[in-house]
Structure formats: structure tokens, C-alpha cells
């Protein structure tokens, strides 16, 4: 994949403006700020990490985490998703020496792990009841019949994911929206975004400089917005054929 380096983008700007290295830090700040902005909307940087679970059932969120897409358990080549449950406690349980310990309801009898994760009501205990037919098949409409343990909660105040206390896992898989501002992210800026970042640097340079007037700054801002539109267009997957296919698929014979 063709990428550019933000250090290269900044040096390129200095050369264009015929500025010495003394403007490097200022331009670098603007460049990184732009990367942060377009990382949220346009670049859509998603990361996947396998994260360790502590004994207390907590997982530390990654430094570049913005929002989660999926929290799941690795089972072979697939990921089983966990379900968000807001009833999990934000507070932690402490012992007499103020060490964090698991809550008491995590008894071994309820414990579930990667190989013993309940996804459906436990039908075995429902045999020969109204929940099953004479062949032992589930008749459906059986709600709340099983103690689900496959839940989690994002606790932002602790910068952690809290898992159900009965869920005994070694690791979880987290797919999340990244700010793109890890060291790797910065050294690898998509080529499409180069011009947008350059125009943002100039816009901010004008904006934060007292010698430029409002009209010049506004003109520079407009150039940045234009370039950002170009970036969106470049990143868009929509083609004429795709649009035609969408229309065709949604055209059905229906009564007037």
C-alpha cells in the first residue's frame, strides 16, 4: 500500500514556503491535528487486538481507542460476540487491604469460558415441559430462561472493559475504531490524505498568525474544505455499477 509520512508532508510544506526548520514543530502540530480529525470520519481506521483479561474480569482499553465495534471471544478461527450489559457494576470490589477482587457471585458453578459459553436457554433442563415438544425440540418463545454470562460493559471512567464476573476468560478480541494516532498510524498516512493535511496545515497557519487577515484565512479554509471533499470522494466505494446494482436490487414488482 502506498503511504506517505507525516514528517515528509511537513518538510514538503517547509520547502514550498521557503521556511527553515524553525516552523517544523508548528506545522507538525497542525498536521497531526488534521490526521486526528480525518481519522474520525474519513480514514476509518479500525484496529483488532487480542487483549488479556485480569483476574477481576477487566480489560484495559488500548491507548488509541475511540469506540468499540465488537467485543468477542476467540473460538478457533471465529469470534463469538459478547453482548453489552449496562447493569454491570461500574464500581470495583475491594478486600480489606484495598486490593481489587472479583465479586462473590462468580461461583464456579456459573462460570463459563471459551468452550462452555451458553448461547441459548439450557434446554436440557426443560425436557418434558411445555417448552419442548414430544421430540424434545424447542417450541420457541422461551425468554429469560437461562443465566447469560456473555456480557460486558465499557467503563470509560476506569478506561476498562468490565466482563461479567462469571465469565472466566484468558483473552478477548476487541475490534475498535482507532484514532489512528499510534506511532504506526502516523508513519503511515494514506496517500489520498496528503493534500488535505497540507491544506489544513496552511489553514491553521493562517488562522493562528496575526499577520494574515480574515479574508485570506477564510480563503485558505475553503481550500482545505475543498481538499477534504476530494478526499471523501476518493475514499468512497460508490461506483456507477454499484449504484445501478443497488437500484436494481431494490426494484421489485409490487401492487400499485
Amino acid at each position: 500500500m502506498q503511504v506517505v509520512n507525516i514528517d515528509g508532508i511537513v518538510n514538503n510544506m517547509l520547502l514550498k514556503r521557503r521556511y527553515p526548520k524553525h516552523w517544523y514543530l508548528e506545522f507538525l502540530l497542525y498536521g497531526v491535528e488534521c490526521l486526528r480529525e480525518i481519522g474520525l470520519d474519513e480514514l476509518e481506521i479500525y484496529n483488532t487486538q487480542k487483549l488479556p483479561v485480569s483476574l477481576e474480569g477487566t480489560v484495559e482499553l488500548p491507548a488509541d481507542y475511540i469506540d468499540y465495534i465488537l467485543v468477542g471471544i476467540e473460538v478457533g478461527g471465529r469470534v463469538r460476540p459478547l453482548v453489552e450489559d449496562n447493569s454491570l457494576n461500574n464500581l470495583q470490589n475491594f478486600d480489606s487491604t484495598f486490593q481489587v477482587i472479583p465479586f462473590n457471585n462468580s461461583t464456579d458453578a456459573n462460570a463459563q469460558d471459551e468452550t462452555n459459553l451458553l448461547y441459548a436457554p439450557n434446554l436440557f433442563s426443560q425436557f418434558l415441559t411445555v417448552r419442548t415438544n414430544s421430540y424434545g425440540e424447542n417450541t420457541g418463545r422461551f425468554f429469560g430462561g437461562s443465566p447469560y454470562r456473555d456480557s460486558f460493559k465499557i467503563v470509560k471512567s476506569r478506561n476498562q472493559i468490565q466482563l461479567d464476573p462469571s465469565l472466566k476468560l484468558a483473552n478477548i478480541v476487541l475490534i475498535y475504531a482507532s484514532s489512528g494516532l499510534t506511532a504506526d498510524g502516523v508513519t503511515n498516512v494514506p496517500l489520498y490524505a496528503q493534500k488535505t493535511i497540507q491544506e489544513y496545515i496552511m489553514y491553521q497557519f493562517y488562522f493562528n498568525n496575526r499577520t494574515y487577515g480574515v479574508s485570506e484565512t477564510e480563503m485558505q479554509r475553503q481550500r482545505y474544505i475543498d481538499e477534504r471533499k476530494v478526499l471523501r470522494a476518493r475514499l468512497s466505494d460508490l461506483t456507477i455499477s454499484t449504484l445501478k446494482r443497488i437500484v436494481n436490487r431494490n426494484t421489485i414488482a409490487a401492487q400499485k
Binding site: 526548520k21 514543530l25 497531526v32 494516532l181
Partner: protein
């Protein structure tokens, strides 16, 4: 041709009095050297602020950039620092310290780095930026009085010496036989100004004592 203080002062004296330079002349070379320093300072500073900066050119005249090689770098707590060999001229954004880089004399055994200039106090502000607190693994420097403080201990990378490009207009620090870092195009103008300045100085006639007004405009 590069000029020295001595060459210029001799040129001025020749135009003032002609022939052999006389030690009895009311204007001596020492008088011209000091005046020369003052004129060069004012001329270059005016050139940078009145002509260069408004035209959009930020990079100063190359003739005014002096290179000081092999300046020692020493470890200083968690970072490192070097001492400025000379006080550069005060220009916006510390452009007076034009460039600091790994000393050429260290060869290819150590990383060749052009250090990132920072203004004083910016490093402390940068610490709170999650991404830039290590300057993307680059090394910056902050000037603090006569010291240059690097953001990292570069001696650990084997960089024990740096080369500095400094904009030096302080001609008082140049010896009489040192080549002056002034563009050749300025020399004639400087000589003319000096001749004009010293031309009115006349030798005192008659008895000369402590209360004489010799050499002063009357």
C-alpha cells in the same frame, strides 16, 4: 574577495589621507574597527528586518551564517546539552540559531540528525500531547541562555559533538584578520559610510594638550 577589518580600515585610511598610513593621523585603525562593527551590525539587521522578512524570504543571507564545528555535547540529567560558541543575533523564532546537526566529523557511525528547533518552554507543553511528546522519535532542542538543551540524551546515540550554523552579526567577536561574514556587495557601501563618517576629523593645529578639541567638529 573576502575582507577583514584590517583590509577595510586600511582602505578607509588610504582614501582619507592617501599614501603611507601615518601613525600621526587623527584617525587610526582602532577607531575604524569599532565604527566598522557598528555599521555592519546596523546594516545587516536592517537588511533582515526591512528587506528580507517583508519580501517573504525567511531564510537569512547565507554569508551571514557562520558554521561552528565539533561543539561538545554532554549528558545532562535525562537529556543532554551543549554550549553556544557565540551569541547569535536575536531574530524571530530563534532563527539566529539557524541549524544544529550531528557533527560531520563523527562520520557515518552515528545517526545524522538535524535537530528540531523549539522555542523555550515548548518542550514542557509538548509533554501533554500523547503523540508528539517524543517528537515522533526525533530530537529537538531548546535554547536557554548560553546553553542548547536537547530533548533526549543524544550522547547515548554516540553523538558527542554537533555542528552549529549560527547567524552572527556581532563583529566585535571577529579578530582584525578574521574573514568577515559579509556579502561582497556590502563592502563598498560600508567603506563609503566609514569615509563619510571620519572625513570631518581634522588634526589639531598648534599646541595640543589635555583640553584640546583636536579631531572634533567645530
Amino acid at each position: 574577495m573576502a575582507s577583514t577589518k584590517k583590509i577595510i580600515s586600511e582602505q578607509v585610511l588610504f582614501r582619507l589621507y592617501g599614501g603611507q598610513i601615518d601613525t600621526a593621523a587623527p584617525v587610526q585603525q582602532e577607531d575604524i574597527w569599532k565604527a566598522l562593527e557598528q555599521i555592519i551590525n546596523s546594516t545587516f539587521r536592517l537588511q533582515q528586518f526591512n528587506a528580507t522578512l517583508p519580501s517573504g524570504e525567511i531564510i537569512p543571507e547565507s554569508a551571514s551564517i557562520a558554521t561552528y564545528e565539533n561543539i561538545a555535547v554532554v549528558s545532562y540529567y535525562n537529556c543532554s546539552r551543549a554550549i553556544l560558541p557565540i551569541t547569535p543575533i536575536s531574530l524571530p523564532k530563534n532563527i539566529g540559531i539557524f541549524d544544529i546537526k550531528t557533527a560531520y566529523s563523527l562520520g557515518g557511525q552515528v545517526p545524522q540528525i538535524n535537530f528540531i528547533p523549539m522555542q523555550r518552554g515548548q518542550n514542557a507543553l509538548l509533554k501533554s500531547d500523547l503523540l508528539l511528546n517524543s517528537l515522533l522519535n526525533q530530537v529537538g532542542y531548546e535554547p536557554s541562555n548560553k546553553f542548547i538543551t536537547f530533548t533526549k540524551d543524544i550522547t547515548l546515540l554516540g553523538i558527542t559533538k554537533v555542528d552549529m550554523d549560527l547567524i552572527v552579526f556581532d563583529m566585535a567577536l571577529y579578530g582584525i584578520d578574521d574573514v568577515l561574514p559579509i556579502p561582497a556587495s556590502f563592502e563598498a557601501d560600508i567603506v563609503n559610510q566609514l569615509v563619510q563618517q571620519f572625513n570631518p576629523v581634522q588634526a589639531e593645529n598648534g599646541q595640543v594638550n589635555l583640553l584640546t578639541t583636536a579631531g572634533q567638529n567645530k
